[in-house]
C-alpha cells in the first residue's frame, strides 16, 4: 500500500514561491486508480515525488508501512515502485531487449520479450533488436515504456499520461492493455490521464487541481463532476455553451 501523508512540494520560480502540491494525503491500495485534473494541477509532480525523482518539501511517503521519503530512486525501484515516463527517454545503442532485460532484472529470452511487447501491440520480431533511439516514433516509445513497467511487475506501477502520443487507431488496444494490466502485474496501478475512456475503466478517480485533492471516488461519482466543466472560466464557458 502507498500512503502519502501531508505531502507538499514547493519550487522557487524566479524568486517567487510556487506551491505545486499542497498538503496532499492519499492512500492507494491494490486497485486501479486514475489521477486526473487540469494541466498544471500537480499530477506529474505527484507521480515523480512518489518515484523519488523529486523530494517533497514537506510530508512523508510510505510503501507498505515503510517510510520511503528519504530513499533514492534506485532504492524505491528495488522496493517495488515502477514509473512510466510521460516522455520516454531515447538511448543511442540500447535495444528494446536491453531495456526490457534491465527492467526484468536479467536477460530475457526472445519469447518472454515477445510476450511483453505483444501485450502493448508491438510485434517482437520487428522491435526486439531495434535501438531505442530517434528512429522510433513517440507512440512506439510509449508502448515500449509500458512494456518495461510490465516486465518489472512490481507492487506499485505509475503511468504518467500513457495515452499521450498514441494515435487514435491504436487507442482501443491500449484500453485493453490497461483493462488487463492489474491481473497481469498485480499490485496497485496508478494512471495519470485526461482520457475519459481510461477514467471509466478505473476503480477509483482522484482529482488533483492546483496542487490539492478536490475529488476522490468511483467513476460513477466523479465523472459527472468532471464533464460538467464547473472549473472552466466564464469566457470559455460562454463560447462552448
Amino acid at each position: 500500500m502507498l500512503e502519502l501523508k501531508n505531502v507538499s512540494f514547493t519550487v522557487d520560480a524566479d524568486g517567487e514561491r510556487k506551491d505545486i502540491l499542497k498538503n496532499v494525503s492519499l492512500k492507494i491500495d491494490g486497485n486501479f486508480t486514475a489521477i486526473t485534473g487540469p494541466n498544471g494541477g500537480g499530477k506529474s509532480t505527484l507521480a515523480r515525488v512518489v518515484a523519488g525523482i523529486y523530494q517533497p518539501t514537506e510530508g512523508r511517503i510510505f510503501l507498505d508501512g515503510e517510510d520511503i521519503t528519504e530513499l533514492s530512486v534506485t532504492e524505491r525501484a528495488k522496493r517495488g515502485v515502477s514509473f512510466a515516463f510521460q516522455q520516454p527517454v531515447r538511448f543511442k545503442g540500447l535495444t528494446v531487449r536491453d531495456l526490457i532485460s534491465i527492467a526484468a532484472g536479467g536477460n530475457v529470452s526472445f519469447s518472454r520479450a515477445c510476450s511483453y511487447l505483444s501485450e502493448v501491440g508491438l510485434c517482437a520480431k520487428d522491435y526486439v533488436d531495434r535501438e531505442v533511439n530517434s528512429s522510433l516514433s513517440g507512440g512506439e516509445l510509449k508502448r515500449i515504456e509500458i512494456a518495461t513497467v510490465m516486465a518489472r511487475g512490481t507492487k506499485l506501477s505509475l503511468f504518467d499520461e500513457p495515452e499521450a502520443g498514441i494515435d487514435l487507431w491504436s487507442f482501443g488496444n491500449l484500453i485493453k492493455v490497461f483493462e488487463n494490466l492489474q491481473t497481469k502485474i498485480g499490485g496497485s496501478i496508478v494512471i495519470i490521464s485526461h482520457q475519459e475512456r481510461i477514467l471509466k475503466i478505473a476503480e477509483r478517480i482522484v482529482v488533483l487541481s492546483a496542487g490539492e485533492v478536490v475529488g476522490d471516488g468511483t467513476p460513477e461519482e466523479i465523472m459527472p463532476t468532471l464533464l460538467g466543466g464547473e472549473r472552466v472560466c466564464p469566457a470559455i464557458g460562454e463560447k462552448f455553451d
Partner: protein, 307 residues
C-alpha cells in the same frame, strides 16, 4: 615460437582467437613471427625489404578469413610493421587484425602498423581491428595504426576499429581512395580514460562515379583524457559521403570533433554530423527507475553506446 599465457590471453582479446585459428593466419609476437598458415586461396609472404607481410587473396575467394594479430608482452619494445593486402577480383573475405600489449615494465611499448588494402574490381572485405593494452607497469602503451585503402570499381569494404582500454596514446591515420560504384563504411569506437590521448584522422577521396562512404565514430572520453577526431571527405565526382561523430564527454575530459567536407563536383552530396555531450540526466533517471544505481546506469548507457 610458443606463446605463453599472457600472449594467449591478449590474442583472445584482440582477435577472438582461442587456440589455433581457422583459415589463414599470421601471428606476430614481440616483434617476430610466431605462427603462420596459408590456404589454397590465401598466401602470406614475408616482405624482404622491410618488416611485415604481403597477404595475397586470389580472385574469387569466398567465405574465407585471415587473422593477423600482433601481441607484445616485452616492455620497451618498439615494433613497426608494413602489411599489404592484395584482394583479388570478386573475392569476399573477412580480415581480422588487432594488437594487444601487456606492458608490466616502466618503458614505453609501441606498435606502429601500416596496413594497405588494394581491392581489385568487385572485391568485398570486412576488416576488423581491435586495440587493447594492459599490464600494471608505469610504461605507456602506444599504438599508431595507419590504414590505407585503395578501392577499384564495384568494391565494398567495411572497416571496424575498436579501442576500448589501456592504450595511453594513439594516432590513427586512415586514407582511402574510392573508385566507381564502390562503397566504404567505417565504424570507429573509442573509449579513453585517465590521461590517455587519442587522435584520429580519416581522409577519404570519393574519386569514382556513384561511389560512397559513411564514417561513423562513437567515443567516450573519461577522466582527464583527450580525444581529437578529424574527418575529411572530398567528393570529386558524382558521389555521396556522410560522416557522423558522436561523443560522450565525462569528468575533466576534452573532445574535439573537426569534420570537413569538400565538394568539387556539382553532383557530390556530402553531409557531416558531429555531437558532443554528457550523458543526459533523464537517461540515468530512467534506468534508475528500473532499479539500477547511478553507476550501473552509466555503465549500461556507455556499453550500449559503444556496442
Amino acid at each position: 615460437m610458443a606463446l605463453d599465457n599472457i600472449q594467449r590471453d591478449l590474442l583472445a582479446k584482440v582477435a577472438d582467437i582461442h587456440g589455433t585459428p581457422m583459415g589463414a593466419y599470421n601471428i606476430r609476437s614481440n616483434g617476430a613471427a610466431a605462427g603462420r598458415a596459408t590456404t589454397a586461396n590465401i598466401n602470406i609472404v614475408t616482405k624482404e625489404d622491410k618488416p611485415g607481410i604481403d597477404i595475397i587473396i586470389a580472385p574469387g575467394t569466398k567465405n574465407e578469413s585471415v587473422h593477423i594479430p600482433v601481441v607484445i608482452s616485452e616492455t620497451g619494445l618498439h615494433d613497426m610493421v608494413y602489411n599489404d593486402f592484395y584482394v583479388g577480383e570478386g573475392a569476399d573475405v573477412v580480415i581480422v587484425a588487432g594488437c594487444g600489449i601487456h606492458n608490466s615494465g616502466s618503458d614505453e611499448t609501441a606498435h606502429d602498423g601500416i596496413h594497405t588494402f588494394h581491392l581489385a574490381d568487385g572485391a568485398k572485405v570486412k576488416y576488423i581491428e581491435k586495440h587493447y593494452g594492459e599490464g600494471g607497469g608505469s610504461g605507456d602503451n602506444v599504438m599508431n595504426p595507419t590504414t590505407v585503402v585503395e578501392m577499384a570499381s564495384d568494391c565494398y569494404m567495411e572497416l571496424e576499429t575498436t579501442q576500448i582500454e589501456g592504450i595511453n596514446s594513439t594516432e590513427r591515420r586512415t586514407r582511402a581512395k574510392i573508385g566507381d560504384r564502390s562503397t566504404l563504411i567505417i565504424h570507429e569506437k573509442v573509449m579513453t580514460s585517465g590521461r590517455q590521448h587519442s587522435d584520429t584522422d580519416f581522409e577519404v577521396d570519393l574519386d569514382g562515379e556513384d561511389c560512397s562512404c559513411n564514417v561513423i565514430s562513437r567515443s567516450v572520453a573519461k577522466d582527464s583524457s583527450r580525444q581529437v577526431l578529424k574527418t575529411n571527405v572530398r567528393g570529386n565526382n558524382r558521389c555521396s559521403g556522410h560522416t557522423e561523430c558522436d561523443a560522450i564527454i565525462m569528468d575533466e575530459a576534452r573532445v574535439s570533433a573537426i569534420p570537413q567536407i569538400i565538394a568539387s563536383d556539382v553532383d557530390a552530396s556530402l553531409i557531416h554530423e558531429a555531437a558532443i555531450g554528457k550523458i543526459a540526466g533523464e537517461q540515468l533517471m530512467k534506468l534508475m527507475t528500473l532499479g539500477l544505481t547511478e553507476k550501473e546506469a552509466e555503465e549500461q548507457i556507455i556499453s550500449g553506446f559503444l556496442k
